[in-house]
Structure formats: C-alpha cells, structure tokens
C-alpha cells in the first residue's frame, strides 16, 4: 500500500513536470523569433522541462539574497525543528533555516561548479585545439601527460591533491579544473583533428593566418557544437564531484551553505523517517537531470537527427 502511494506521487510528479516542460516550450516559442524559434520547434518536452529547471536555478542563484527568508549563516531557532509556518522546511543541525540554506546553496554549489567547469573548459579546449593544430612534439607531450593523468581515477586523484593543498574553495576549484580539463582536452583534440585536415584550413594557412586567428576564427566555430554539448556533460560531472567531495567533508567547507555538506550534516534525520536531508540531494539530482535532458536534445540535433 505504502509503495503504491509512493508510485502514485511519482507518476503525478512526472505528469506535472511534462506539463511544465510543454508550457515552457510553448511560451518560449511565442517569445522568440528566427533561428532560436525554429530550433525550439523540434525540441522534445524533456528538453523544455530541462531548460525551465535550469532557468529557475539560475534565477534562484542570482536573487538568493532577495528570496531567502533568513540570513545564510543566521541561527534562527532550536536544532532539527520540524516543518511549520515560520521555518517552512524546518531547521538544520545548528538551528539554521533549512529553506534559506537550500536557496543559498544554489548560489554556492552551482556557482562553484560553474566556475570550475568554465576554467576546465577554457584550459582543456584551448590546449586541445592547440595540440591538434600545431601537432608534432607539442601534441605528443600534451597527449602523453593527459593519458597518464586520466589513468588515475578522478575522485581518488582529487582526494590526494586535496590532502596536499588543503581544503579551501580556491584549491577545490583548481584541483577539479585541472583533473577535468584532461577530459576536455581529449575531446577538443579529436574534434579539431578532423577539422585541421580540411581544405579551408590549408587555404587559411597559405593565406598566412597566424596560429591564434587560425584556432579562434577557423577551427573553433566548426568545433563548437560538440564542445557545447560536452560543456553540459562536464558541468554535470564537476557538479556531482564537488557535491560528493563536500558530502565527504573535504569539499566546500562550513559555514558556507552547500548542498553536499547539508546532506551529510542532517543525514541522521533520514533514519527517523524525515525527508528533509533528501531535499538538497534531490536539488543536485534535479539539476543534473535537467542539464542531461537539454544536452541529449542538443546532441541529437548536432548528430543530424540520426538514430
């Protein structure tokens, strides 16, 4: 009986999500023109839902200080209070408002993950494109370094590096960006290798275009579609990795509000049948699902709609 009720609610949630995705797509098609509208016409409901969720997360992250009912680090009441009128989602292990922490978590966790991805991406993609364009010994050296770094499991490697450099937000970003840029390098290099052999690159070289111009004006625009999809996937990986490290207690440190450590701090409640600690974990899961839905649609479009 209990499972049936749960299944019913899951079905209701899926139906609502699909409805919201459909409505969002309909509204977006109305509001946009030209190329964007044409692209949106073929988008599946799942992609609409994904874009809607991402938009909501971005808005919450940007306006966290306006939406949150209390201060991020403010102790407002007793510990582990249940849900009520004042504290909508109760309080956490130190008596801070759960909803407020969740809202600020959107800013901190997502923000840090985004910054890390951007850094990993710019370094990895630039080096990858450079290696493919220049070739020769530079390519060999960079590729072998990346091969070796990729042979160490990423979570283990980041734990090792965090032991050495200590746990702070800056080291966290640098360590994960370094590890992740190797994966971006691989993809960027293999995409660019197919482009460098094209005739128009030969033409551009003969015209006397410099290396920088060659990479940014000739190769990058043509490698953009797979790279953008990869950006979404990498963001998911980085986001999950940072959450996992924070959950293990070696990532984002207190008192900063962060979803991974919120789960860890309040996990004791779950064994008493309280779902509150599942909310930050669910917030992480929902965003990754949403990004994956959008990436799936983009990959489908980039592959020329073939199955």
């Amino acid at each position: 009986m209990h499972t049936l009720i749960t299944l019913f609610w899951v079905a209701v949630a899926i139906a609502l999500a699909m409805g919201a995705g459909w409505l969002f797509l309909a509204a977006a098609r109305r509001l946009t023109r030209g190329g964007v509208a044409r692209a949106l016409r073929g988008a599946p409901v799942s992609a609409g839902f994904g874009m809607l969720v991402i938009l909501i997360y971005v808005l919450v992250a940007l306006f966290a200080h306006l939406i949150a009912p209390f201060g991020e680090r403010q102790v407002v009441g007793a510990q582990f209070l249940p849900w009520d009128g004042t504290y909508l989602l109760g309080t956490d292990n130190l008596g801070r408002d759960m909803l407020t922490r969740l809202i600020y978590g959107a800013r901190n966790t997502v923000g840090i993950a985004f910054a890390t991805t951007v850094l990993a991406f710019s370094v990895g993609a630039m080096l990858g494109l450079l290696a493919a364009t220049v070739g020769g010994w530079l390519d060999q050296v960079l590729s072998r370094i990346v091969d070796i770094l990729m042979a160490i499991p990423s979570l283990i490697f980041s734990l090792l590096l965090l032991t050495i450099f200590g746990t702070s937000v800056v080291t966290l970003i640098l360590v994960i960006a370094t590890i992740d840029s190797t994966r971006v390098f691989r993809l960027a290099r293999s995409v660019a290798q197919n482009i460098v052999v094209m005739d128009y690159i030969e033409a551009a070289r003969l015209r006397g275009e410099g290396l920088w111009r060659l990479i940014t004006r000739e190769i990058l625009p043509n490698a953009l579609a797979p790279l953008v999809a990869e950006f979404g996937l990498r963001f998911c990986f980085v986001f999950l990795m940072i959450s996992a490290l924070s959950f293990l207690g070696v990532g984002i440190q207190p008192p900063t509000a962060d979803w991974g450590s919120m789960v860890r701090d309040n996990a004791a409640l779950i064994t008493f049948g309280d779902v509150t600690p599942l909310l930050p974990a669910g917030a992480i899961a929902l965003l990754t699902v949403a990004v994956n839905f959008v990436v799936d649609w983009m990959l489908h479009r980039a592959s020329g709609l073939k199955e």
Binding site: T6, D147, I148, A151, I152, P153, S154, L155, I156, F157, L159, L160, L161, L162, T163, I164, F165, G166, C236, L240, S243, A244, F247, L248, G249, V250, G260, V263, A267, I270, T271, F272, G273, V275, P277, L278, A281, G282, I284, A285, T288, V289, V291, N292, F293, D296
Partner: protein, 317 residues
C-alpha cells in the same frame, strides 16, 4: 596466434609503465607542498628542533629519488610505512579493509553485470517501444543522481522499516550469508549507479550491429529475432561490451568511497576519506596507489579480453 601474444605482451608492458609513472606522481605529489611534509604536519608553531627530529624520523633528510625507491620497493612487498596519525603500520590498517572493499565491489558486480546486459539486450531488441523509452529515461536519471542520494533513498524506503540494516557493520567474525545481508543496501546502491551506463552502452553496441548487412541476411533467412541477437549480434558486440563492463567495474572501485561513508562500511574508501581530513599523507598515498593500480589493471584486462574476443583488433593502429 603469435601476433596476439606479442600484442598482449606490449599491452602488459605499457600497463606496467603506466603504473610506474602513476606511482611517481602519487609519491612526488607531496613534494609540491610549500616547505616539506614535516612542516605541513607540525604546523607553523613547531620549533626548528621538533621539525628537524620529525624530518629524520620520516627519512626526509634523504634525497627524493632514494625515498621514492625505498617507498616503491616497500609497497611492492606490502610495506607502506607507518601512519602519521596513529603510528601504526599502514599494512595493518589496509589488509582487512581491502578485503571488505573487494567483497562489496564483487557483490555489486555480481548483481549489476547480468542485470544490465539483459536489460541492454532487451532494450535493443524492443527499441523505440515503451519498454525501451522507460529504460532509457531511467538510465539517464540514475546517471544524474549523486551516489549518496541513491543510498539515502534506499535507506529511507528499505532500512527505516527495519527490512535491511542502514549501517553495514561487518568484522572478521561475520559469516558469509550474514555479510551478504548486512551489505545488501550498499551493494544495491552501487548496482543502481553502474547499471544504467552499462545498459545504455550494451544497447548502443547491439543496435549499431543490427544495422550491418549480415544481420539483415540472417533476418531474411527467417531467423527468430532472439536467435539473431544471440548467434550473430552478441558475439560481435563482445568487445565493446567487455570494455564497458570493465570500465564500470573500475568505476565501482572509486564509487565505493562515497557509498562506504554513507553506510559506515569499514573499507578502504572510508579510510582514505578519514586520512584526507587528518592530512595523513602516507595512508592517502598508499590507498591512492592501490585504487589506481586496480583501475589500471581492470582497464588493461578489458583491453586484452576485447582483443581476444575480436582478432581484428590486433592490427589496429
């Protein structure tokens, strides 16, 4: 035949070289510290005499390459030095936990591999049906879930009612069936995390093959769909399937870290996380070396097995 053996020997040599370079990286990572290990452990307030004494104790007065050689040969003989936190030999800390971690990973693999291969083949056979779509959506969703979310959902639904224990306590005296029962939830968590990926890759590998002419031929002969898959598609899809299975087993080895912490399971992963927060360098290095070795060996195994299953791969570039 001899071509295959030469290829395997080459792969093994490459694997050994990779491991050697990884051991250098893991060892020399501590050399990146500002100052040195002794200063990092003792902190700013330590007197120069204490730092010097501690340095001698750790053997830091020797040159780096000599320490590396000592460390590596020690590790090869199962001697990883002593822990900084409790001064016990690291080998003692590790031996029991390594067995526990392997037990959990093998347990999860025994459920996950048959399950995901079956689901993947079924999804390929019934592609674009409701079953396929549902399986695909589930796969995409479970890839996106953090491990601890899956773990806590399972605790919420299965452990709260007392059906399974939420803490996986095992010790050497625990019997085999009892250990299986106690570690059921962690094993199930790991299964859920890896099944999706393996299933999707199996499906993709089989669907890829179903488009080739000899499958068309088999169909036109009037073969039954199940038989086409078993006789013609699966043997040719073995190489990619073996690769993806091995990759996921390698993933299990690292995914085990988070799951062990959630279920308070006495394994290597938990030891590593504890040592990271205590900044116990030798322990972290030892565990990292073991995890990395397991990861490299599994990838090597996948490479060799998939080549054996498909001799055409011997002559690839």
């Amino acid at each position: 035949m001899s071509d295959i053996w030469i290829m395997i020997a080459k792969r093994l040599a490459l694997g050994a070289l990779t491991l050697l370079v990884i051991s250098v990286i893991i060892f020399s990572a501590t050399e990146l510290l500002p100052g040195d290990l002794a200063q990092a452990v003792l902190g700013q307030s330590a007197t120069p005499e204490t730092v010097a004494a501690f340095r001698r104790e750790l053997g830091l007065d020797l040159p780096a390459y000599q320490r590396y050689v000592n460390w590596l040969f020690g590790a090869l003989q199962g001697d990883f030095g002593t822990s900084l936190a409790n001064k016990r030999p690291i080998a003692d800390l590790i031996s029991l936990r390594l067995g526990n971690t392997l037990f959990l990973a093998v347990y999860a693999a025994f459920i996950a591999v048959p399950l995901s291969l079956t689901l993947g083949i079924l999804a390929a056979l019934f592609r674009n049906t409701v079953f396929d779509r549902a399986a695909n959506a589930m796969a995409l969703t479970s890839i996106s879930f953090p491990e601890f979310f899956v773990a806590y959902i399972l605790i919420f639904f299965l452990a709260q009612s007392g059906l399974f224990p939420s803490m996986a306590r095992v010790d050497p005296s625990t019997g085999f069936t009892e250990a299986l029962y106690h570690t059921f939830l962690p094993a199930l968590t790991l299964t859920l995390v890896v099944t999706a990926h393996m299933m999707r890759m199996t499906r993709a590998a089989i669907i890829n093959l179903l488009a080739s002419p000899y499958i068309e031929m088999a169909r036109l002969k009037g073969m039954k769909p199940m038989r086409v898959i078993w006789r013609h598609a699966v043997p040719n899809a073995l190489a990619p399937i073996i690769t993806v299975v091995a990759l996921n087993l390698a993933y299990l080895i690292t995914g085990v870290v988070v799951v062990e912490v959630v279920f308070v399971y006495p394994g290597l992963g938990q030891l590593m996380v504890d040592s990271v927060s205590k900044r116990d360098f030798p322990v972290v290095q030892a565990v990292a070396l073991i995890f990395a070795a397991a990861y490299v060996l599994l990838n090597l195994l996948a490479d060799v097995l998939s080549t054996l299953s498909n001799p055409r791969l011997v002559h690839r570039k």
